[in-house]
Amino acid sequence: MLAVATPAIAAPDMNKVVREVFPAAETGFDPAAVHDLYSGTLIQGIFETLYTYDYLARPSKVVPLAADGMPQITDNGRTWTVKLKKGIRFADDPVFGGKPRELTADDYVYSIKRLIDPRIRSPWAFLVEGKFVGLDEVAEQARKSGRFDYDRKVPGIEAVDRHTIRFRLKETDYNLPYILAHEPTSAVAREVIEKYGESDGRALANPVGTGPYRLAKWVRSSKILLEANPHYRGFTWNFASSDPADAALVREMKGKAMPQVGRVEISIIEEDQARLLAFQGDEVDLMNMEGPLAPKVLDGGTLKPEMKAKGVKLSRIVDPELSYTYWNMTDPVVGGLAKEKVALRRAMAMSYNVADEIRVIRNGQAIEARYPIPPGVVGHDPGWKGGIAYDPAGANALLDRFGYKRGADGWRTLPDGKPLVVRLSSRPDTLGRQQDELWKKSLDAIGVRMDVHKDKFPELIKAEKQCKLQMRVASWIADYPDGDNFMQLLYGPNTNQSNNACARIPEFDKLYARTQKMPPGPERDKLYQEMTRVIEAYAPWRLMISRYRNMLVQPRVLGYKRHPILHAHWQYLDVAPQGPNK
């Protein structure tokens, strides 16, 4: 069900305040320039994309936001025409000279072009690179001249008229709506960026958007106060859920003019204990319960009785993320497609007990990942029966069969008799150490000697992109809730970018190329299943876990349900009239 846009239904109540806590600091408010979760959350509250996600629909469903309806698709999925709602206004700012500033198609054209402007060095360039007809050429020109020509017409991103945008793609790509729902493509006004931008073209402060909130106060890395944008058009809370557990939530919110919440106060509290005490002391209303804190508040998947007695609510989802260990497929010891190499990787994967990781490392706040597309993401197969199971006896038998003999010291050697030593790379932090220990224990059990290589995160990423690591635990959280965002992680041409296993598996690559031209649906899902079998057969990865996200919500906050992709939810909430949490 869509949120119905209505003209200025009712002003938000400035006495209704929601207080949220972030565990890490924001970096800024430029949609093209920032890439941390918390800045992205704030951007979702201040700016608007063409599309967004239905608040309650699961799996996530794209719905219009600034767009007036879903896109018109022609030319076999290569031309997309998007109409813009009329009369959307940016929040007031001196740069507009006191005049109302309407959101137009040109704003989106400008904002999307910014993603590939080399001067801005956007971490989101990959969203648009190689996609739109003529855009890469302008970027190339900018690299040579040092200046991106925003006035140059790009056939692939065109403002047809004041309220119509036409996208022309180089190849069929049904993921475009997801990209247009992703906050880096939010609309910024060119005059705002030109006024407040730094010499590198980034405007990390002074955000001016069309979204439900505007920045009222900012104490960097400490406190952020958002206030309702008086020019926001509002909508009626009219969402439907297929989950019976949402019935009460729908009842208490249905038909309300939104947004109800006038002010949003965000505190940055890095330390776990301080965050939890602040929540328990009623200093914050919404808090994400990180794994280490979970045992203090949760009994498995439910709140402890003392929390329930206070009326605290828990909104719990499996994050659209995947944690996995990869083996470098170009490595002479663990890589390659030869049978004995596949056997070695499979045996190592079979030696790893994911249940131990969930229990010991994750405090029970994770599920085992059996499919390379996690729950909540389009293309996930909840009934998948495959996967590599924990089976150390089977792993030993496999190694014996392929000639990895045990020496006198108990450690196995390579089939050619040379010593077998694998090297796990990890960060020098608590999680890294715990994962090292679990992998060491696992590989010890099958006689494979393991060394640990510790390095700083940037150096690990650097070595990974150069295919110089042998194995590492990696994780990926969805940029958009489509299986493609996960399956691309093993696509051969993405080596040196996101394909950290440096895998080039011809069967997989052929299947992936076919899926790229398909819309989501059973036909594509079938190919994803085939690709999953290829992953299981060649074992470039050991799938591990997807974590739970546990949001604690004070009783006075109404209408909260954690969305897997949307992070800014304040415009969908209300606050009980009695105020205090009693």
Binding site: P123, S221, K223, A278, P458, E459
Partner: protein, 312 residues
């Protein structure tokens, strides 16, 4: 005196050069390449090279070092790589919250520790002296982390005497509402070592002949202790206090993080986490300079409290 000051300032240059070289090479050696983090989740070599070019980390080391030296001379360290915020703005906005906690803490710590040191030294060997020393030893053995966790839980959460965390807009609100518990924790942590140290300094003096003479002349115990003993014990005390003052500029990392105080210590941790070299190097240089200046001030104060001290 002026010649002495000029000579000391001149001697700071090679020390500062050493600091600059150390910071520069340490960061380049252990800091990691920030471009790989700033490039985001999916990036190609061309984008990474572009970032390195913009940050200037693709330049030869000697060029980067020369830029660093110029930044120190001009006092303009540019902007944060992560947030684009000017370094000068970072320092000027983060320093006041840190000082709101640390100045009262330093003053109170010194006054209480000196007062208690004189008192327990005066009753040296008594049950009170031994009890205080045992408490100090126990206090010294406990990590600051334990103090923070326990005090925050008991005094802020359970008893509700203080807010669990936060920071406001008004100086007085910050000082009396938000900084009170952090100051209390700082005192609990800091008084024990200071008290033990100052007691030793006082004991060194209390057995001197001039104390016996003062008593023989009929001076009151208060005057003997607070004027004569304290004045002679003050040189090592001044050394200790002045050595702690540069710490004001880097804040109290843990306290600021646990109590969400937007101070400079929290910013330093954030900068390290983000490999934000401009922030790290600016703060390191300022702290090094402050350390040298406070050392000079300490030497000048020796002369002020004890005219027998010769500045050479």
């Amino acid at each position: 005196m002026t010649a002495y000051i000029i000579r000391r300032l001149w001697q700071m240059l090679p020390t500062m050069l050493g600091v600059v070289l150390l910071v520069f090479f340490l960061f380049n050696w252990v800091g990691g390449d920030p471009a790989y983090v700033l490039a985001g989740k999916i990036s190609n070599q061309e984008q990474i090279d572009n970032i390195r070019r913009q940050l200037g980390v693709d330049q030869p080391y000697w060029v980067q070092l020369w830029i660093f030296v110029k930044q120190i001379v001009t006092g303009d360290f540019g902007a944060s790589w992560s947030t684009n915020e000017r370094i000068s703005s970072i320092i000027f906005t983060r320093l006041p919250p840190s000082l709101t906690v640390l100045i009262p803490l330093t003053v109170l710590d010194a006054l209480i520790a000196i007062g208690l040191a004189l008192a327990v030294a005066y009753v040296r060997g008594s049950l009170t002296d031994r009890a205080v020393m045992i408490v100090c030893t126990v206090g010294l053995s406990i990590s600051i982390l334990v103090y923070i966790i326990v005090f925050q839980y008991v005094f802020a959460y359970k008893l509700g005497w203080f807010p669990v965390q936060g920071w406001g807009d008004s100086f007085w609100e910050n000082l009396f509402r938000y900084a009170s518990l952090p100051i209390l924790i700082g005192l609990a942590v800091g008084i024990a070592p200071s008290l033990r140290l100052y007691r030793t300094f006082v004991l060194d003096e209390i057995n001197q002949d001039y104390v016996r003479t003062a008593r023989a002349k009929g001076l009151s115990e208060n005057r003997t202790m607070w004027v004569h003993v304290l004045r002679n014990a003050s040189i090592p005390i001044i050394t200790n206090i002045m050595a702690s003052l540069p710490g004001l500029l880097i804040g109290a990392f843990l306290i600021e993080r646990f109590f969400s105080i937007p101070g400079i210590g929290r910013e330093v941790i954030l900068a390290v986490e983000r490999s934000d070299f401009p922030v790290i190097k600016a703060i390191t240089v300022y702290v090094a300079a402050a350390t040298m200046v406070f050392n000079l001030l300490a030497d000048l104060m020796y002369k002020a409290v004890d005219p027998r001290v010769q500045l050479k």
